[in-house]
Amino acid sequence: MSRLDCDQALAHLQDYLKRELTPELVTEVRVHLEHCRDCTGYARFEESFLSMLETRAGQTTCPKELRARILAALRAETTGS
């Protein structure tokens, strides 16, 4: 297996964190991270950014009133036409 250098590993980092890499590349990136403190630090930073996005913006739910309004509109479609 070829060893990735820092530039190559970092080029794959975003896809690695989003689980979009092939299993082979996942292993190659992981091996690089295990041996490179600098890249591991950067990977942690990117990870904390991504998880921040998910927790801050991903918790909002559809308001109850809107849900009720939509359901009523759908029912009107069914019976109305």
Binding site: Q14, S48, L53, T60, I70
Partner: protein
């Protein structure tokens, strides 16, 4: 064989579970809660009316998001001053990390920024960027599914995402410096 009323139940089963996702994406697209509500309702009605075009067992979320997006583009006036992309091309991708790696390597300043500021910063991204960021990093959709819903190549999804994240990080960093969560980057000698 299929009666007109027959799809009713399966529409509920397939489409309604995605209301939260549609609402969150609509919020980011419109950057306006009232418009977001109208957009979700319009989307659901259009989806219901064209429910026969949906192939059961395929990706209902993607199908709904395509309708949401088309509705937004066709029927909703975009903001008067639609944000533009920052010119980050000249900046080395890891420059931000380099400037904080000694003081806050884990990026804990992110957690100090209040929710409203984070959302404000997302909504200040160009529409194309907000869209992919919402679908990927907020909704957790795979790149392939995003590409299909937006009818763009996977490579475009990735490059938009990459630039969206960098711009967002830069804006949040500036905010964190301003708010005193983090020490300012040392100016180059």
């Amino acid at each position: 064989m299929a009666e007109p009323s027959a799809p009713g139940r399966s529409f509920d089963e397939e489409a309604l579970p995605h209301l939260d996702t549609l609402y969150r994406v609509a919020l980011r697209l419109t950057a306006d809660p009232t418009q977001a509500e109208d957009l979700v309702q319009d989307t659901m009605l259009k989806a219901y009316r064209s429910w026969r075009q949906y192939r059961p067992g395929t990706n209902a979320r993607g199908w709904l998001l395509t309708i949401l997006r088309n509705t937004f583009i066709n029927d909703y006036r975009r903001r008067k001053h639609e944000p533009v992309a920052m010119d980050l091309e000249a900046v080395e991708p890891h420059a931000l990390y380099r400037s904080i790696q000694d003081t806050d390597p884990e990026g804990s300043f992110f957690s100090q920024i209040v929710d409203a500021k984070v959302l404000e910063a997302i909504d200040a991204l160009p529409a194309d960027f907000r869209e992919v960021l919402a679908l990927s990093d907020i909704e957790g959709m795979p790149y392939g599914e995003i590409a299909e819903a937006l009818k763009i190549p996977v490579g475009t999804v990735k490059s938009r995402l990459f630039r969206a994240r960098r711009q967002l990080q830069a804006v949040l960093y500036d905010h964190a410096v301003e708010a005193g969560y983090i020490k300012p980057r040392e100016t180059a000698p």
